[in-house]
């Protein structure tokens, strides 16, 4: 057993058993893979971490879930006009754009994190939880804005693939020896080579670093297991470092559901590994091209605005 396989096995043993006990037998592709193909969405309003007022409560009752949904949808409503001029301005990006969803996950969990059981990321005490330095000040250059606003990487692509505030859409296409995930935001294609019993493809060299890492997949029964390493030092998922090891598990548990689980390991940022779970539900296609950089007029506007403010402040 190689080091990579050993680490993988350790994470898998620690993972959730829910997906592994699924009774559903998915159809197969012609080359014998469980068939995950189709268009899927991970849209949900369930937060990654458990809200403070739900501490100790792992699951909603059905009635509590409906109330939480009602409250959240009302709070997220960007079409409201009850907050004065400044609030109106910040809601100019209104619900014509947003598509955050209106429902919690069907498991009725109160957080996407299922391990640790408290629903919180086990951050090391010496790691700050806030945004990276530079973010928040008037931007001196594009580097002072988030990766999303720079059209470099969205949480929807990750990996791990997290729901965001719109276009949470994916299409899975399986060819012989590959599973590929087309991610609508922002036109990313995750090409995952599959290891066979006698055909294990090592990761690319540690000197090659990628925003989305370097994935390798294999099947364990009906579960696709994808292990990703080789992240660069700028992806920083939840402040993880470039040595983050990610293991994702995709299990089709029903015709219209893929249970997606991910386990993050990085001793430089977390005291232990942690796991999230998001059901992906079948939805309608097609996936539409999201040309982010090609239409990023906002970046020009934000930078030009910051320069205009400086000029004004200098009294020129």
């Amino acid at each position: 057993m190689s080091g990579r396989e050993f680490a993988l096995a350790a994470v898998i043993l620690a993972g959730s058993a829910l997906a592994q006990t699924s009774k559903y037998t998915p159809p197969r592709t012609p080359d014998g893979q469980p068939d995950l193909q189709g268009v899927w969405t991970n849209i949900t309003i369930t937060p990654l971490e458990r809200p403070a007022n739900l501490a100790g409560k792992e699951f909603f009752t059905a009635a509590e879930a409906r109330q939480y949904e009602k409250d959240t949808v009302e709070r997220n409503n960007a079409d409201r006009r009850d907050g004065g001029a400044q609030a109106d301005l910040s809601r100019a990006y209104n619900d014509a754009w947003y598509d955050r969803g209106t429902r919690v996950v069907e498991t009725l969990r109160t957080s996407l994190i299922i391990d640790p059981p408290d629903g919180h990321i086990p951050r090391r005490g010496d790691q700050p939880a806030g945004p990276p330095p530079g973010l928040g000040r008037p931007p001196e250059g594009p580097e002072d804005r988030a990766l999303t606003e720079r059209c470099i990487l969205w949480p929807t692509a990750g990996p791990p693939m997290m729901p965001s505030f719109y276009n949470n859409n994916y299409q899975i296409v399986q060819g012989p020896g590959y599973v590929t995930i087309l991610v609508e935001m922002i036109h990313d294609a995750r090409v995952i080579p599959l290891d066979g019993p006698r055909d294990v493809r090592p990761h690319i060299d540690a000197n090659v670093r990628q925003w989305m890492g370097d994935p390798r997949g294999h099947w364990e029964g009906n579960t696709l297991v994808v292990e990703t390493t080789n992240f660069n030092d700028k992806t920083r998922f939840q402040r993880a470092g470039p040595n983050m090891r990610l293991v994702e598990r995709f299990t089709r548990t029903a015709p219209d559901t893929i249970m997606y689980e991910f386990t993050v390991t990085d001793p430089s940022a977390f005291t232990k590994h942690w796991t999230g779970q998001i059901p992906m539900k079948r939805t309608e296609g097609p996936i539409i091209e999201y040309a982010c950089n090609e239409g990023n007029y906002a970046m020009e506007g934000m930078l030009a605005g910051a320069r205009a403010d400086e000029k004004k402040a200098a009294g020129k």
């Binding site: 592709t29 012609p30 080359d31 193909q37 001196e140 250059g141 594009p142 580097e143 720079r150 059209c151 470099i152 990487l153 299409q171 296409v173 399986q174 060819g175 012989p176 020896g177 590959y178 590929t180 087309l182 036109h187 990313d188 294609a189 090409v191 080579p193 493809r201 090592p202 690319i204 090659v208 990628q210 925003w211 989305m212 097609p286 996936i287 539409i288 091209e289 040309a291 950089n293 090609e294 990023n296 970046m299 020009e300 930078l303 030009a304 910051a306 320069r307 400086e310």
Partner: protein, 281 residues
Amino acid sequence: MRKSLTLFSTAAAAVVCISLTLTPGKAQAPAAPAKAVAKAVAKGPRMPDGRPNLNGVWEYIGTANWDIQDHSPAPGPMWQLGAIGAIPAGQGVVEGNEIPYKPAALEKKKQNKASAPAEDPEAKCYMPGIPRATYMPFPFQIIQSNKDILMAYEYASANRLINMGKPIEAGSDTWMGTSNGHWEGDTLVVDVTGLNGLAWFDRAGNWASDKVHVVERYKRRSNDVMDYEATIDDPSVFTRPWKISLPLYKRAEKNAQILEFKCVEFAEELLYGKYKKQPTK
């Protein structure tokens, strides 16, 4: 009109394009071999359903991304790069070497070229469009399923899904267009509409408008080589349809894979440099 093409009219248009391209003068010679090629059985691996298996990492070798037409070597746009940035000579990939521009369209091509490289969408890390994505100096991977086909290009993380089911209409214009594919014998034929006309064909500023209709043909010649053709029809820019043809080579490294080239980072100075805070003098 362009967006409401049915499969029938699309296929008919493709046939018309090809016959138009092959009929006049110089282009007449390939007509007979082309017919023979259409009948020939493709070499290389097969899918479980018997279709040619196009899976793999592919790349064009040549200088078409500099200029799809025949061209001599020339100094590059950045003298600071010396010979590194110079333009290599190239034998074009346009059949007959002539792009039949209407006069005003040729003027725009010249303007494009004069504005390069700053205004070349490639420099801005914009998606390359079709057919340029195919002959960029980057590999791309074909993932062929029993249903649809995904083409994932290394450059700019561009990609496109080729719908192999019931043809869909282009919902709105996009950089990579809307692709409907079908098989004609052993040839994968992809009908591309809904292109936004903002991508260029090369660094020399060759272009088409948002009225362009591209029909591509992929046919595996052997284990290692695939023939690629693209017929380009845009009556608002060209006097007749014209055709690109080139070979794609299979990347034969055991560990061949497309890597990341998320180039936005590398284009930010070009795109936004003038809006950045300047150091105090």
